[in-house]
Symmetry: D2
Subunit: 146 residues, 4 copies
């Protein structure tokens, strides 16, 4: 069950720290190789036109991919981003962002994930961005392995 | 001179709004087709290991590219991100990020920029990320054209 | 039905010309916004280790995305590649490549497609690469519109 | 001097095999972390409009990046492409392509290179594409290490 995964405490820890905690990233679900995160609109997360800023969308995509990859790694390993690429498909004009990442492939220490980002309001959920991320598995400092 | 450019008020306006204003993006310089922005480290901008979060680095890269492209467009046009790709080359463990974007090519309504991101402390400045962004020129709402 | 699409003669023409014709790209199927192409292994298409060369894989991905995007455009328009990004996931060591592209989104004159590339032999079909392509819709020279 | 590099015979061997040999890729120069390759136009290398096919451009970019990265690795190691991304900036309508790759960073077994691709004729040389490639250092089969 997802909350038993490698280590859920790690995903939580990753998420509550620093930028992602301050921005309000929320973990919706984690399975091995998959993750879903959500983010509620705030005035300090938007761009010029009042939609979610592309940088915020990319940050959510990156972080969701990292949790998806990490959730499939042995305990004590963490996925670190090598590169990320995001296409913006529609204005992120909803009240919430939802990011769904899945691991496409792990080979050796390198993994690739795809991320779909949706913008949601009361009425509908629309795909607003799509990304791919390449990650490498890194050893966690011993102190951080529960 | 750079502060005369298309329209500096626009670049400033783009920058002080929403996410970029709240995060503290600072415009260092703008020339036609070029922009340099800076960002000072804060505890709400870092990741698990205490370095600038990849999403923050990508946001700064995206925004700097947008200003570089927009600075080369006719008045009343703004560069909007179609896609961005960033490679992370070294830990962003400095006290500041510096992003330098330059327009590689504008053809028709589509422009491509490259972005170098450096992490800086008292002692040195190191390249920590490199990105490319594809943008399209969009008409600004009339109300926004000074 | 797929062979009635915008214009199938165009897809065929695109495919039999120059590099794609000489390399032996084969159209398996076309639907609006989707395309599947195949390519049989030849000694002049491989790299050092005898697997399909990454450049050949990328060419097939690019071309399949172009046909998928073009198949969804009004007659007289063609999709031209703005940028393409491909991740190589496994050795392309089969006797054939299969590329399946689908249009994720068309907005205005810009479209984005994803491409899955499989390597196939008698026994199995394995995902060996994944790509995304950004295309712009261009007018065909009048002479080329049937 | 460039022909002393890690091992030049490897770069030559990589280049004369399979696709790159059949296509006529020519090594112009190699330095540690840098490579320049050239390709002469042929009717079997062009697309619909008679310009170099995007797939051929990407193949040249990929191969040039691979040689640039490999030329900086210890003997017995080869750079293998993890992912490549290319933006097409102008029609490749010249009689020749020139690709210039340089290693931006090697960290651990992962390297990143940028590639500028120019199209050249008697009169001029124009930037027609720009790419980035992520590579990983792999051990060569013992048999292949001179």
């Amino acid at each position: 069950m997802s909350t038993e995964l490698n280590p859920p405490s790690l995903a939580e820890a990753l998420n509550t720290k620093g930028f992602t905690g301050a921005t309000g990233f929320r973990i919706v679900s984690i399975e091995p190789g998959r993750a879903e995160l959500a983010l509620t609109r705030r005035d300090d997360l938007v761009q010029f036109f009042g939609h979610f800023h592309g940088g915020v969308i990319t940050a959510l995509a990156d972080h969701t991919a990292g949790i998806a990859i990490t959730s499939g790694l042995p305990k004590g390993k963490i996925g670190v981003t090598v590169e990320i690429k995001v296409n913006f498909l529609a204005p992120a004009d909803g009240s919430e962002l939802i990011a769904r990442a899945k691991t496409l492939k792990m080979s050796g220490s390198i993994g690739v994930a795809t991320i779909e980002i949706f913008t949601r309001d009361e009425k509908s959920e629309r795909l607003c961005a799509f990304g791919t991320a390449t990650m490498r598995a890194m050893d966690l400092p011993a102190a951080m392995v529960g």
